[in-house]
Structure formats: structure tokens, C-alpha cells
């Protein structure tokens, strides 16, 4: 198995773990963490393809990863802000009980 294949398989594994967590946990904060894990798996793919790609001097993978990390940070800040606002209305962070549009 070539190094690139093992990195891709590891990335697929991390993505699936994040997906499983995002789909099956009740707490909103953990669902957000699962989404962060999925974004990180995509970043690992970018870096692996940059490293073993034909033209590593072009820096494309690194640039894409840097921008992706910035977007993930913005997403985490806004997501946790929304969770705090919802908690202030409903007094819990259980996603199974968030079933009304009016707080």
C-alpha cells in the first residue's frame, strides 16, 4: 500500500467517525465537534495530495488548508454562539427536544 493510500484511508476513517458522532449524539456541542472532525479529515486529504502530488512547489494544498482552517474557526464561533442563544431560550442543548421554531 502506498503512503498516499494509507493517508486517504485514515482520512476516510476520521470522516466516518465524525459523521457517526454528528448523526447519533444528542448534545449540540458534540454534533458541532463531529462536523469539525469531518472538516479536519478533508484538510488531511488536501495535505496528503499536496505532499505526494506532481507539483508540491505550487503550494495549492497548503493554501486551501489554511483557508479551510479559518472557515472552520468562524463556523465554530458562530455555531457555539447559536447554541448559547438556543440554550438561553430552551434551557437545554438536547437536539431531540429542539422541535419547535418558536423558542
Amino acid at each position: 500500500m502506498s503512503p498516499l493510500t494509507s493517508y486517504l484511508l485514515l482520512s476516510a476513517m476520521i470522516f466516518s467517525i465524525g459523521l457517526a458522532g454528528a448523526l447519533s449524539r444528542r448534545n449540540a456541542i458534540l454534533v458541532l465537534s463531529g462536523i469539525e472532525l469531518m472538516l479536519n479529515a478533508a484538510n488531511l486529504n488536501f495535505i496528503a495530495f499536496w505532499r505526494y502530488g506532481p507539483n508540491p512547489a505550487a503550494l495549492t494544498g497548503i493554501m486551501f488548508t489554511i483557508f479551510s482552517i479559518s472557515i472552520a474557526a468562524a463556523e465554530a464561533a458562530v455555531g457555539l454562539g447559536i447554541i448559547l442563544a438556543v440554550y438561553r431560550h430552551t434551557r437545554n442543548t438536547d437536539l431531540d427536544q429542539m422541535n419547535s421554531m418558536k423558542g
Binding site: 502506498s2 476520521i14 466516518s16 465524525g18 448534545n27 465537534s33 495535505i47 472552520a72 474557526a73 457555539l80
Partner: protein, 164 residues
């Protein structure tokens, strides 16, 4: 596949699984931090030093602390009586398992091979040059996005005045 890769991969997978599987939320975030550290070391192993240290700064530093703050402010820590998994957790696990099966099948059957070349030497100066020249417009847009996210997060989380 080297021993270093195996150790780092095991660390990352254990951290990620524990983060998604444990019951206590604080333990979950600590395990998630372990997974992020493993990923940062994988970036270093791949020769992307700048991205590795950015990962440590942003994820291990900022996102983990932010999550711990959110857990404490929503009083979600500690043991709970209600189940940790949602009502439809079996469907979630099946979907995730199927996704991994399809991805692994696609990767293994693609026949992709890459020779193990020398790690490219990328300095921070080169990255800064690229950010200031060919990626200047995306950088500006990213700054705008981060400003908007900062203001938006503060406004969303601000307590609302009761209007009569």
C-alpha cells in the same frame, strides 16, 4: 507505511472515537483535543510545518477552549440521566459505516500510486509571498468573513432585551 504513521494514526483515531463515544462532555472535548494534536503531528510528518502549527494554534488552542466554555455555560458537564445517543442513532451509525465502506472501496480500487518522494521544503516566507501575491484577494475575503463571523457570533450570543 512507517511506524511513525501507524502511531500517529492510532492516536488520532483513538482520540476521535473517544470524543464521539464518551458520556461526559468534558472528557469528550479533551479526547477531541488529543485527536487534533494527532492530526497536527500528521501534518508535520507530511512536511507541512506551517499548517501543523496553525492546527495546534487554532484547534488545540482556540476551538477546544471555546467548546469547554460552551459546555460550562450550558451546564452540560457531569453525569446525566438521559441517554447520550439520539433516538435514531442506529441509522446514524449505519450511514457512517456505509460512507466509510464506499470511500475505502473507492480509494482501494482506484489504483492510485504515488512514489515516496523527498518531502518538499516549504518555508513560511514562501507561504507569505504566495498569500500576498497570488492569493491576496482570497486573503482579503477571509478577513471580511472572519470579521463578519466575529460580529455575528457576539450579536447572536448577546442577551436580548425584553421588548414590551
Amino acid at each position: 507505511m512507517t511506524v511513525t504513521f501507524l502511531i500517529l494514526a492510532a492516536l488520532t483515531i483513538i482520540g476521535a472515537s473517544a470524543a464521539m463515544g464518551l458520556r461526559n462532555l468534558i472528557h469528550c472535548v479533551l479526547a477531541l483535543t488529543l485527536g487534533f494534536v494527532g492530526l497536527a503531528m500528521l501534518y508535520l510528518e507530511l512536511g507541512a510545518q506551517f499548517v501543523g502549527f496553525t492546527q495546534i494554534l487554532v484547534y488545540v488552542g482556540a476551538v477546544a477552549i471555546l467548546s469547554v466554555f460552551a459546555i460550562m455555560m450550558t451546564r452540560s458537564a457531569g453525569p446525566h440521566a438521559e441517554p447520550a445517543l439520539s433516538a435514531s442513532w442506529i441509522i446514524g451509525l449505519v450511514v457512517a459505516g456505509a460512507t466509510f465502506a464506499v470511500l475505502a472501496w473507492a480509494i482501494l480500487s482506484s489504483g492510485i500510486t504515488a512514489p515516496a518522494t523527498e518531502a518538499p521544503d516549504v518555508s513560511v516566507k514562501q507561504i507569505g509571498d504566495a498569500l500576498m501575491h497570488s492569493y491576496a484577494v482570497p486573503l482579503e475575503i477571509m478577513g471580511l468573513l472572519l470579521t463578519a463571523a466575529l460580529i455575528g457570533a457576539v450579536i447572536i450570543a448577546m442577551p436580548q432585551e425584553k421588548t414590551p
